[in-house]
Symmetry: C2
Subunit: 294 residues, 2 copies
């Protein structure tokens, strides 16, 4: 057992519980349900209820870029959850705000399912490319169209390089119906390489993503405005995207032994989770017990 | 004018002519004809004739992976050339030999036009992926099939990483009918990134490519066996793929002011061609004059 892992007896003395916890960021797939199944991970529905009863705010954070937010919530609530729209943060939502705030007119390479997330944005005469997990909409034609637009934008706007190419994530692959599937990361680096550009990454594990997620906690009319990096934890099954991403941003990263977790993750050569727990239920129990004792 | 460029008066004193020249590697597009046209670059047909009459051997080197060799020759000879099969070196030919010599059974992601180049290879139970410029055959499905095969090969053959993914080139893009088009480089890095693998690059500017090209010169029954890196030059319009590639391999790289040449190339931040000439005709005239004087 790794020194950072937790047995129930050692739980309250563990280092990740040594600082206050006033908010939680929760990954979805592998924490709330197992990919490819249509049931919640045992104990996770109850864990969410306990957080609500304790008044401990949380946000669901995900790199899902194939579904719009209402569809994600609908799917989760069919598993027994009771999530509301403001409790979930997607790269699409963050990207939409970013495009709007920066006066950007996007050309999209995304799945049509995600299009409604960007309703209302000006798409005429595009001045940037936004790429999501387009799945079968990744074709030579669609990639080449992005490539040509980026090359012409590079020529036209010599001083702007930062946000010509915006990607909703950099994930390498995911598992669907027990088979691995290429994610948008490869297609993002393809365009970066061909165009000699660096993409702006909006999804986990980018700092922008975590920053926005934390900002959504802050409600000036309530005590939640006391939330900051120091008292928020991230719980996820991805040692890189969830745990390392959170730690790089300066918040504690807790690994669950569900989802894509593999025992080898407990001795990862680079990433050392702040805590390792069996599942969301165990994490929440320990957090609540800790808060009660302090 | 850059210090390495040549005026006709300075030609014979130029540094790239200070060592013997007994063989030439010639890029095709941009040296023999301009992309998107159906005529030879003025003087290039005659330059090839002069090389033949002088008994100076040459090889055409190209990263063309959309056509089989006979088709490339047919196209060039329609422009007025008289090339023969043994005078051209393609990544497909080199790859075919490499697969055969290494007992590799390929899964191909290439354009069907190129398939005959690989006739006779065992393709059952593939143990590597070969990627060429597949153009519209780059789809999510075809990329994902390669990705899954590579991931399962990685798992099955833990000690073999070197030649799981073989790419016929790493070019970023090319120009076709006056429009830029994504080349296979981006799709190669997409698979490298998603699979955490490094591709073996067969085309220019890889050392394997130049090595094979030089080896084809060597005919034990003739004096051409005296050919070596020191007395061969490469002439091309691509400052990276042709000039830097040749120089990295240890042979002189000469840039022509035709094809994709741009004046900015004469002050490239990294690559300093051994010589810069107006076109192939000028290069050949200078080489022949030099050989005559020595």
């Amino acid at each position: 057992m790794s020194p950072t892992s937790l047995s129930s007896s050692a739980a309250v003395t563990s280092s990740w519980l040594s600082k206050p916890i006033k908010g939680l960021l929760l990954d979805i797939t592998g924490v709330l349900y197992e990919s490819g199944t249509s049931v919640a991970i045992p104990g996770s529905v109850e864990a969410i209820s306990k957080l609500r009863h304790a008044g401990l705010p949380f946000r669901l954070v995900t790199n899902e870029t194939q579904k719009i937010t209402p569809k994600i919530i609908e799917k989760l609530n069919n598993f027994g959850y009771d999530f509301q729209k403001h409790e979930i943060i997607t790269p699409g939502m963050i990207c939409c705000k970013y495009l709007h705030d920066n006066g950007l007119r996007p050309h999209f390479l995304i799945t049509p399912n995600l299009e409604p997330e960007f309703d209302g944005l000006d798409r005429s005469d595009p001045n940037c490319v936004v790429i999501g997990d387009a799945d079968r909409y990744f074709t030579f034609e669609s990639m080449n169209t992005c490539f040509r637009l980026l090359m012409s934008l590079k020529e036209r706007e010599l001083n702007r390089k930062k946000n010509l190419l915006i990607s909703l994530g950099r994930n390498k692959y995911y598992r669907e119906r027990n088979e691995l599937k290429m994610d948008l990361g490869g297609f993002t680096v393809a365009l970066e390489y061909a165009c000699d550009l660096e993409a702006l990454i909006i999804g986990k594990p980018s700092a922008e993503y975590f920053q926005t997620a934390i900002q959504t906690f802050i409600d000036p009319s309530s005590s939640s405005s006391l939330l900051c990096k120091d008292n928020i934890i991230m719980i996820g099954d991805d040692i890189i995207g969830d745990v390392q991403g959170a730690q790089n941003f300066g918040i504690r990263g807790i690994l669950v032994r569900t989802g894509k977790y593999m025992p080898i993750n407990e001795n990862h050569p680079i990433v050392r989770p702040d805590g390792i727990v069996d599942n969301l239920a165990a994490a929440v129990d320990q957090v609540l017990q800790h808060n009660q004792n302090n």
